[in-house]
């Protein structure tokens, strides 16, 4: 699979349409991205603990188990393209 085919496959996987005329600029962005990753790979990380949070803190509080008012079902369905019986209707993607 060449680079163009790879990008087309990725676009298809995430359901984005990439017109052919956009492909040269997308390839350029892709190359820039690969160069940046290559720079990152040069950094010596052996023995370095991954940093997840910018500050080394722990919290002690948890949320009390209390209920808050929720959206009305009609508000929830506003975002859905298709609905049926107050549920969100999507294409079946499993066999």
């Amino acid at each position: 699979m060449n680079e163009e085919e790879l990008l087309k496959q990725l676009a298809k996987d995430v359901r984005l349409s990439v017109p052919d005329e956009d492909m040269p600029s997308l390839l350029q962005v892709y190359h820039t991205f690969l160069e940046q990753v290559a720079c990152l790979e040069k950094i010596q990380t052996e023995g370095v603990e991954p940093l997840v949070f910018p500050f080394d803190i722990e919290i002690h509080e948890l949320r009390e188990d209390e209920v808050q008012e929720v959206f009305d079902v009609q508000d929830i369905l506003k975002n859905a393209k298709n609905t049926k019986e107050n549920q969100i209707l999507v294409f079946k993607v499993v066999e």
């Binding site: 997840v52 919290i59 949320r63 188990d65 808050q68 107050n86 549920q87 993607v93």
Partner: protein, 475 residues
């Protein structure tokens, strides 16, 4: 002959009021999409917050399963793109589960097995999806309900062990008060991983996962079928495919859901929106101290101290209310066996018939009084049954019932003697048989007295008086 190697993953919904990371209510059977918070829908700018009660419940289960509890609570993201979680990931615990290295003792045909439990972790449930031929309907009510996942090591070998483990685990989930653990409603769900190997070999065959199992009976059938299916393939030197299968009730077989070519890469990484939470050991200790007596401890007490049979013990334990009620009654009058006998017999049958829990049917004090009267032979078994039924219907004490329905036991010796003499007079042939050595015929005479008194004669007293009279007459 191959050996099955089985591991079990159980997902259990926790009965908190609100969801794992949002304040939406946790309910079962509500109309679709009526219990959904902005956080559950992954609306931009929303952030999760950890439910304290869910953590407390996880700690209860961890303690009951003898696990090492990690007091630094950390969450991870499990990334996958599917509409059952709008965020595009599930918040779970991957690297640091709240509980590690536990076990659960189970009993199969009198033999005890220690089932090692690898981990217990907290996570959120996904939305419920209903598939039709071309479309899928999504109800987000379930999305975000707190779950604990309990994972055993692959060290079970038979379907009987699996069912015994699940039954024991279900009792723990109920007795610790964390879940109703009803498989049919999905509050306890179970996936089974099963592979076969040559006996004593360390090389495992390809692993098959069985999903969508909704009852213990189906689990047993699915495992037995799967062992048979894989054995058949291996005997024919055919490969066992790495698959996810489900149990098909119609054909009573397992059928392919999907092929598993390779392990899915969920790109787990620490959840950046939840900082590590340091749990106070004193708080953890106070949760453990408040736990009620667990099923295993009750089982020991019932069998060793109260001398109940294994079967009776398991029936009592299978219903926490029944077990609690039993404990309260034997606390008043320690007639361990009699009380158990009546509870798991007549009372339980009535409970099932009318779908009521025992505390709705009877008061502890009234039932204890009834058992005391029976033990002191103030009433017969037949009368006990009669009174008990009225007590459950009318919610009154045994004394009030006896008075209202004129139920009493005739223990007056003079009166009983009159009935006995009448019976002996009516049945001279049977009396002759008695004197000819057929002593078991006494039961017949007692029965006749019971008939004459409409079941109100004290049978023990009648029997004693009858024997005395027969002896006296012979002399």
């Amino acid at each position: 002959m191959f050996e099955a190697v089985i591991g079990i993953e159980v997902h259990c919904e926790l009965k908190t009021k609100s969801k794992m990371f949002s304040m939406a209510p946790v309910t079962f059977g509500s109309p679709p999409n009526t219990q959904v918070h902005v956080i559950d829908l992954a609306m931009p700018g929303t952030l999760p917050s950890v439910n304290k009660k869910a953590v407390e419940m996880a700690i209860r289960v961890c303690h009951a399963l003898h696990m090492d509890i990690d007091n630094l609570l950390r969450f991870d993201r499990k990334n996958y793109y599917y509409a059952d979680l709008p965020k595009g990931f599930q918040i779970t615990q991957y690297d640091y589960p709240i509980g590690k290295n536990g076990y659960l003792d189970i009993e199969v045909e009198g033999e005890t097995f220690k089932i090692p439990i690898e981990r217990v972790h907290l996570e959120e449930d996904t939305a419920k999806m209903t598939h039709s031929e071309n479309n899928t309907l999504i109800d987000y009510n379930r999305a975000g309900i707190p779950l604990i996942e309990i994972v055993t090591k692959p060290q079970l070998h038979t379907s009987q062990q699996v069912v015994a483990y699940l039954e024991a685990l279900r009792l723990i989930l109920i007795y610790t008060g964390v879940s109703d653990a009803i498989m049919a409603q999905g509050s306890m769900r179970c996936d089974i991983n099963i592979s076969l190997r040559q006996p004593h070999s360390s090389t495992l065959g390809e692993k098959v996962e069985i999903k969508n199992l909704n009852s213990f009976a189906n689990i047993q059938k699915a495992i037995d079928y799967e062992i048979q299916r894989q054995s058949h393939l291996l005997q024919q030197r055919l490969p066992v495919a790495r698959q996810t299968r489900r149990f098909d009730e119609k054909t009573q077989t397992t059928v392919v859901m999907r092929e598993k070519q390779s392990l899915l890469d969920y790109r787990y990484y620490p959840e950046p929106n939840i900082l590590p939470v340091c749990l106070d050991w004193q708080w953890i200790q106070s949760i453990i101290e408040r736990l009620p007596q667990l099923p295993d401890q009750r089982k020991q007490r019932y069998q060793k101290q109260y001398q109940l049979s294994f079967q009776d013990t398991m029936i009592l334990l299978s219903d926490q209310n029944l077990s609690d009620f039993y404990d309260q009654v034997v606390n008043i009058y320690p007639y361990y066996q009699t009380i158990c006998h009546w509870l798991i017999g007549d009372v339980r049958a009535y409970m099932h018939q009318y779908q009521r829990n025992i505390f709705e049917l009877l008061s502890v004090q009234d039932f204890a009084e009834l058992m005391h009267m029976l033990e002191r032979k103030e009433i017969s078994s037949k009368q006990t049954k009669q009174i008990l039924e009225f007590m459950m219907i009318e919610k009154k004490s045994p004394h009030v019932i006896m008075e209202a329905y004129h139920i009493q036991q005739v223990s007056d010796e003079h009166l009983l003697m009159q009935y006995i003499e009448e019976v002996l007079h009516d049945y001279p042939q049977q009396v002759a048989e008695y004197y000819a050595g057929k002593h078991q015929i006494c039961g017949f005479f007692v029965g006749q007295v019971m008939k004459k008194t409409k079941g109100q004669a004290n049978p023990q007293k009648t029997n004693e008086l009858l024997k005395c009279l027969l002896k006296k007459r012979k002399a």
